[in-house]
Subunit: 214 residues, 2 copies
């Protein structure tokens, strides 16, 4: 059992994009940041339920498979679940549709009013917690049944867990683009890598996969 | 003939280190930032004049060989030559010893008092210019005799050339360390990669080599 992070970041270290508009709610940059991952066969099968056999099958797909393997629970921030955009909607169920791609218990960190858990199709249940990183991790570890716990994001939440020393494996997929603005993953983490082994792999897409493990 | 940049940066994008002391003038971090390059057989042969055959021979060494290949001239900032640390010393000849590892004309950008050129052993001649990036590049291109011109550093000078659209090939060797402070290479370069092809390679050392070419 390991506590894992998997994030897509730009070469200049940004894990969020800033060019969202009402007409283009994801923005152009999000597609560029996550495009190599979204192009993999594994993403198509696991997230898009597209079993036609399309998608890339190289280094990026190897990491996409690892992304989904052995996961027992996930922790995410309120922003990633969409609570910041839907603060007053008690019926908000996230933006992943009726069958979210997690298929495990997901713990959403929020300090706003308590919400009842939401069971979705496909095995995903969203639970809402006002808890410290360590407390949330204890809850998620119990729920994971011996499998891995992922800290899913956003980057500020990930950084809280990294700084608290709670992460066993950090995998970043670095897109070869310069976003210039957004939230930086790496801020205030000087020397964090101490005690970790590192493995790097370049993908055909131009994406670099860097993995720290302890 | 291409205008090239080769830089060592940390995973969080810093191209300089900050832990220099009088007792340790390079600091510990500089060794961590450049260690994989300094361990290569090519570095040992070309910079240390160590022909004993030691040093690494993998991916890092492939890039070290390319670093020295086809170079006709180099441009660097005053700080990289040491003029900021030796402003009043007319006899300062840089910190690379009697036979610097460049073996080509080197153009040092400085706005302080003009200095005569300095011819060193091994083919390196230092010239001092008060010039814009484009003007300096014109001088260096003339001197390079059809070979490549490198913008050697520091990162602020490199960024000036990148922003001016003067660089054909940018190679960064990314060390898997988080320095947390220093001068960032990537600041204010949003979208710079447009129009470039990119190639990435992971080295055994944990270094990632990212190369943009147009």
């Amino acid at each position: 059992m390991a506590v894992r992070v998997d994030l897509n970041i730009s070469l200049d270290g940004f894990a969020t994009t800033t060019d969202q508009t009402p007409e283009n709610p994801f923005g152009e940059d999000w597609g560029r940041l996550t495009g190599a991952y979204a192009a993999t066969r594994t993403f198509r099968e696991r997230v898009l339920q597209d079993t036609s056999g399309g998608g890339t099958t190289g280094v990026d797909d190897d990491y996409a498979r690892a992304y989904f393997a052995e996961l027992g629970a996930e922790i995410m921030g309120a922003g990633m679940f969409g609570l910041h955009d839907h603060p007053d909607d008690p019926d908000w169920r996230g933006w992943w549709g009726d069958e979210p791609p997690f298929h495990v218990p997901v713990f959403v960190l929020t300090r706003t009013a308590p919400r009842p858990s939401i069971a979705m199709a496909g095995g995903t249940t969203f639970h809402f917690l006002a808890a410290s990183p360590a407390e949330a991790l204890e809850r998620a570890t119990d729920a994971a049944g011996g499998k891995d716990v992922r800290i899913g994001g956003g980057p500020t939440v990930v950084r809280d867990f990294l700084k608290a020393g709670l992460v066993d494996q950090l995998h970043v997929a670095i897109a070869p683009i310069l976003l210039g603005r957004g939230i930086r993953l790496w801020d205030d983490l000087r020397g964090w890598e101490s005690g970790y082994d590192v493995e790097v792999a370049g993908a055909e897409s131009g994406t670099t996969h860097v993995t720290f493990r302890r």
